[in-house]
């Protein structure tokens, strides 16, 4: 599907102290992913920042709509790959040519062509591992407990419903206002999420 670019104008975070509210946030439920996408854009335009959307499958542009920065995982992977590749070749050279040089069938001590396969494999392996771990670190997984699970309807978030949750600690959050706003987004339902 075509991706619509949304211009993100980041507002400065107001430095006002809030005491922990008993409420985690307000959650709106949608039936179609297009609705969610639209809602997200609206909310962002409205100035909401501390919010997140939930969907049973990845929706293109949703993250941008919510103003999430690009994922750093590609960088992780690149770094992993470089480390893995250089590290491996160095290890092989060290083991074969320096630490215990042995005449193996009259082949050169540093038989670089023979060292390539292992170098290649470990490059891939370490790169992959970094990407994999990236997902866990950046998503702060595992996280079996989360306030959103308090919402009974939320179980459909992994099935056929789409949710937008504006957190109570958002500077612009004001219960009745925000509720009105969400209801205005053709949400099937708006519920409160306890802490």
């Amino acid at each position: 599907m075509t991706r619509e670019k949304t211009s993100v104008t980041a507002l400065p975070e107001p430095e006002i102290e809030y005491e922990e509210p008993a409420l985690f946030g307000l959650m709106a439920e949608f039936e179609e992913h297009e609705q969610l996408l639209a809602a997200a854009r609206r909310a962002y335009a409205e100035g909401y920042r501390r919010m997140d959307a939930y969907s049973p499958f990845p929706i293109d542009g949703l993250a941008e709509a919510l103003g999430h920065e690009n994922s750093p995982i590609p960088l992780f992977t690149l770094a992993g790959g470089i480390v893995g590749g250089l590290g491996t070749y160095f290890m092989e050279w060290l083991a074969m040519a320096k630490l215990y040089p042995i005449n193996v069938g009259g082949r050169p001590l540093n038989s670089w062509p023979n060292f390539i396969p292992v170098t290649f494999e470990l490059t891939i392996l370490i790169a992959s591992i970094s990407a994999f771990l990236g997902v866990f670190l950046l998503n702060r997984l595992p996280e079996p407990h989360h306030p959103v699970f308090n919402v009974p309807e939320f179980e459909r978030a992994s099935n056929d419903r789409f949710f937008l949750c504006i957190q109570a600690d958002d500077p612009k959050f004001e219960l009745s206002q925000t509720r009105k706003f969400l209801e205005s987004l053709a949400a099937a339902k708006v519920v409160e999420v306890e802490q």
């Binding site: 499958f57 083991a95 060292f115 997902v135 997984l141 989360h146 179980e155 978030a157 992994s158 056929d160």
Partner: protein
């Protein structure tokens, strides 16, 4: 809401044929009536409310008993030594290495489908990639065992790993066997991570559909508390894509490395530059065949025709046919090179391969691998479950035989005639092979019983796409 009854899968109506494209190929990629809810219910329903316990139990019993035989065989092997196999000098590698190469080959389809086809935007892979990835994992497990078991002293296998030991010695990195160790373990780990990334959100679905406390807890833990938030999806997707990208060269490399076990050696019949591509093609060939062998019964028994559609099978059959021809090209090249090189040893090897003591095996191979698969030219075969199943079976057997010919026949007549011998497998060779198949099936059955075997998430994407008219 009761999941299975909730969505009665659409059976193909024999009276009217399935919808076809202009070219006359099956059009359906996913049943037309499918909705998010229905796919969730249907797929997640299998682990939660297992629909067909009877046949499952029977299969599991069979696979399990084969696996037990395998354990006995391995125990006896460790107790007596590799001498219980038929190997000798000159044929120092027999079934064990043949099985190794075969299993690794089978293990290729999974990552090929989930990674390469992903990058090529082949949407039809969606509903089968989960299963094939699982198959890959299990196949690689089976494969990985053989190099260890075939060692004269398996308990010192760790000398093949680099670590600062008390001898100041290191693995000999020039040896293809060391490459194998790294290639196979890398392939396994990467496939595992790729597979788990994919399955994580679906486990969340199962968690949310689960009725009992324990199921909730178990699936809740295993999905790491997945919420499907936009941020989750963002990182998930980028990692998934990257792994796909990384796995792609990996698929090609693994069997190339395996082929080096032979190509690097001097032996006529092994020492050949065509081996890497030829092995990779062969691997995907047998891999796809194995997938077909698994999909066809599974989609029947679990009535998944609405998700794993005839179109999917048809496409797979096509890929099989193409890779098949690559393999045939390999055979032709081998023979041609033997003649063209005018090397007495190569020439004799080729002659002996066709007309020597193992000639009948070779011709059997030709039949299974080159002749029978030509049936796939016909659409009626490609779209006929049973026929397709048997063609795939012949390919699987054929590929095993091919590896046997490469390993054993090349060894049994090498340079110096005085040391030419024959190889006769013992019952232990056979038990070990069957046993490994048992282990493979056992793991697979456990998988389809407890884990969603089709990617729910990606099925939903398909539906979304269709609703946007993009299919």
């Amino acid at each position: 809401m009761d999941t299975i009854q909730g969505s009665e899968p659409r059976m193909p109506d024999p009276s009217k044929p399935y919808p076809v494209t202009v070219l006359g190929y099956p059009a359906e990629m996913i049943g037309p009536k499918e909705t998010y809810a229905r796919v969730s219910d249907q797929i997640a329903g299998i682990p939660l409310k297992h629909p067909h316990p009877k046949f499952w139990l029977t299969c599991f019993a069979i696979a399990g008993s084969l696996f037990l035989m395998f354990c006995v065989a391995v125990g006896y092997l460790l107790f007596k030594g590799v001498g219980i196999w038929g190997i000798n000098i000159p044929i120092a590698w027999g079934f064990a290495i043949t099985n190794f190469v075969w299993w690794i080959g089978i293990g290729h389809a999974g990552t090929f489908i989930s990674a390469i086809l992903l990058l090529l935007h082949q949407k039809w892979r969606t509903t089968i990639n989960r299963l094939t990835e699982a198959m890959t994992l299990f196949a690689v497990m089976c494969a990985g065992m053989f190099p260890l078991l075939h060692l004269g002293r398996p308990w010192v296998f760790f000398w093949l790993l680099p670590y600062p030991d008390t001898m100041k010695l290191w693995p000999q990195f020039r040896s293809p066997l060391v490459w194998d160790v790294f290639a196979v373990s890398t392939y396994f780990l990467v496939s595992l991570m790729f597979w788990y990334l994919g399955v994580m959100p679906d486990l969340a679905t199962v968690r949310d559909k689960a009725k009992t406390k324990w199921k909730k807890i178990i699936y809740g833990i295993s999905c790491m508390g997945w919420r499907g938030s936009a941020r989750h999806w963002q990182h998930h997707q980028s990692a998934y894509l990257l792994l796909g990208g990384l796995a792609t060269p990996l698929v090609l490399s693994v069997h190339s490395v395996v082929s080096f076990d032979f190509a690097v050696a001097q032996l006529p019949g092994w020492h050949s530059t065509i081996f890497p591509p030829y092995f990779v093609a062969g691997a995907i060939y047998s891999g796809f065949a194995m997938v077909l062998n698994l999909l066809i019964p599974i989609r029947r028994l679990y009535r998944l025709q609405n998700l794993i559609t005839t179109r999917t099978l048809n496409n797979m059959a096509c890929v099989t046919l193409v890779t098949g021809w690559m393999v045939i090209y390999g055979y032709i090249m081998e023979a041609f090179m033997a003649w063209y090189s005018n090397d007495p040893f190569e020439k004799h090897m080729m002659w002996d391969r066709a007309f020597g003591s193992y000639g009948w095996v070779f011709w059997g191979l030709m039949l299974l691998n080159c002749v029978i698969p030509q049936l796939l030219w016909s659409r009626r075969i490609r779209t006929h479950d049973l026929a397709l199943f048997f063609v795939a079976l012949s390919v699987n057997v054929g590929m095993w035989v091919e590896r046997f010919v490469i390993v054993v026949q090349s060894l049994h007549h090498d340079f110096v005639p005085s040391s030419w011998k024959m190889y006769y497998p013992t019952k232990w060779d056979v038990i070990t092979l069957l046993g490994s198949i048992g282990m493979f099936l056992m793991l697979l059955l456990l998988f389809i019983r407890y884990v969603p075997m089709i990617s729910i998430t990606e099925s939903r994407e398909l539906i979304a796409l269709r609703r946007e008219g993009q299919l």
